[in-house]
Symmetry: D3
Subunit: 132 residues, 6 copies
């Protein structure tokens, strides 16, 4: 199995609901390093998993929709705890949509899986992986 991973980042504000979150129930924020991994069992005709330039560009578009925002104010996330885990899935699902739409090129049709990791600090991160 092969994979390539590209990294971007976002800086957002949000708050959580639920006693389990303790002080993180207050409005605070995070820099998330966002690592998007694309997997496939065999390389394409160019000897690659996917065009790394397109992968970087599409990840950039997906995270641009979140960057420099207060997620508490986004209608899309009304009533949702935008936890690191949740955001990893959100980004992975948007990337899966892009692949299905052909935005990562025809060669990307061979992709079989996507994983997204979000580092919220040097001592904590979360991941979500799914098939395509």
């Amino acid at each position: 199995m092969f994979s390539i991973t590209v990294r971007d980042h976002i800086m957002i504000a949000h708050s959580f609901r639920g006693e389990v979150f303790g002080p993180a129930q207050r409005l605070h924020g995070a820099t998330f390093l966002v690592d998007a991994t694309f997997r496939r069992p065999e390389l394409d005709d160019d000897n690659i998993v996917v065009d790394i330039g397109l992968a970087t560009q599409e990840l950039g578009k997906v995270v641009a929709g979140l960057n420099y925002r207060n997620l508490d104010d986004e209608p899309e996330f009304a009533g949702v705890n935008t936890s690191t885990e949740f955001l990893a899935r959100y980004i992975a699902d948007r990337l899966a949509d892009r692949v299905a739409e052909g935005a990562l090129g025809e060669g990307a049709r061979g992709l079989t899986g996507i994983a997204v990791s979000l580092h919220e600090s040097h001592v904590a991160w979360a991941s979500y992986e799914r098939t395509l």
Copy 2:
């Protein structure tokens, strides 16, 4: 599949028995960066894998039992090569016990796997993963 990972570290002394270890048969030491990963297929009602605060706290308790010690002097490890791999399993198994005891919260009942990685330097690390 979702996961969250938290990082802590320990500073220990130990030695190894066996020619394969070369100069590491002498009493020496290591800083281990300890990364504990908790996995589950779906998020809980709070939209998380497990309370990251509790996960950090319980990892801290587990590694506190090893920290600032000469592992050669610990009765628990008598006659054991406390290799990086071995310590990864040791910590993963202790964390599994904590989950079973409910120390990571009721929501942690949904966890299905634990992985622990120990970085012994910037150029070498070991991992162990198990189901719950």
Copy 3:
């Protein structure tokens, strides 16, 4: 010249005023890795710059006052752009106060400088250094 550095982190929300900040004028957030460096020309009688345990503890206290907060709501920062550079100085000055109060131990009287770096992402950071 000797120094020791300890690392902590905070997760905050804030916004900036001024066209130069572009989209960062919106309420957003950041994880700041906070590196505090303490300098002195000679080691103390224990062969150290300062008790690293106390340094870690005092840095922890200083950043706890900022953590999980929306800095826009803090009276202390009313009308202030809480830029990465500004926060580096803010933390350095609080640490300098602690040193002067003796919170880092009597040996810390020999410290001659403090520097604080805040990493706002893997591709951007800021620093402030001052004498004591």
Copy 4:
């Protein structure tokens, strides 16, 4: 499942053929951080996955054959796009050969998988994993 990973690096020149590569069709170069992971379900009699010293040494020998070279001039790679993904597989396969030849010790007979990751920068990396 257990694993150990060792890191080395190479500095090479190469170029790519295919419009998808854009400016990387020009002769350029890369530093690749090379992480080689060895997996097995149970530890050997020494409580290790494989002798980390031998693993480091054999990885060093494999990458020495690529280091400080223009891959476009290597007969072995004539007509091949030496992408990061391709090189990950190339190195993994060479390491698998070494294991089969006994170069990593008799204990290494218990290894069941190898994975190789190549970091081409702080924001992009590729991996290949295979069974033994």
Copy 5:
């Protein structure tokens, strides 16, 4: 003294002349992580060292002139050993020119120093610093 640093990277081919370089006399390549630091004694009216967006953009323009190239073929570097140290100075000097031209904004007139570090691997890097 305050500073901010922004990171970019380039992937280049080159070779060196001189026995001291050993195997690096052959055509090879490198990924350089490029960290550009801007210093000034006091913050500007916006409470910043320099607009981090402009700093990132200008660093990007400077390194774009080197990226995906064989430096041996660049007339500008004919007969020059394009060592890591040399390239650090080259980039620092180009950035100094941009500051003088006003490309980093009027506020950047207060900058007093620039430093550039190039990481050629996880185990080697070089720096150059100069006044403005």
Copy 6:
């Protein structure tokens, strides 16, 4: 001012004397990442600070004398707290001796300073710098 830095690491055991050290008074250990920096105001005739190969080799020799040892048993350190700060100076002074002996090449006569940083974990490090 120019500099180059090379990284190596050691794994040692030791203990400290003095109440300030708390649990670190027990025999424990550390992995130290060792970064050695060499400075000079102008590059030599090869356009470098110092031969990075020789610098790596000489740093390797210096740290080999400490690696895989219990520093409490080394006569050289009898009665000495081998703190991270102390070891940074120890290594810097040994490297300065090597430079004076010509082990880093004739070109190294132009070096004007050495700095050594030891990372004892991902959250704590120490440095020492001196002139030549």
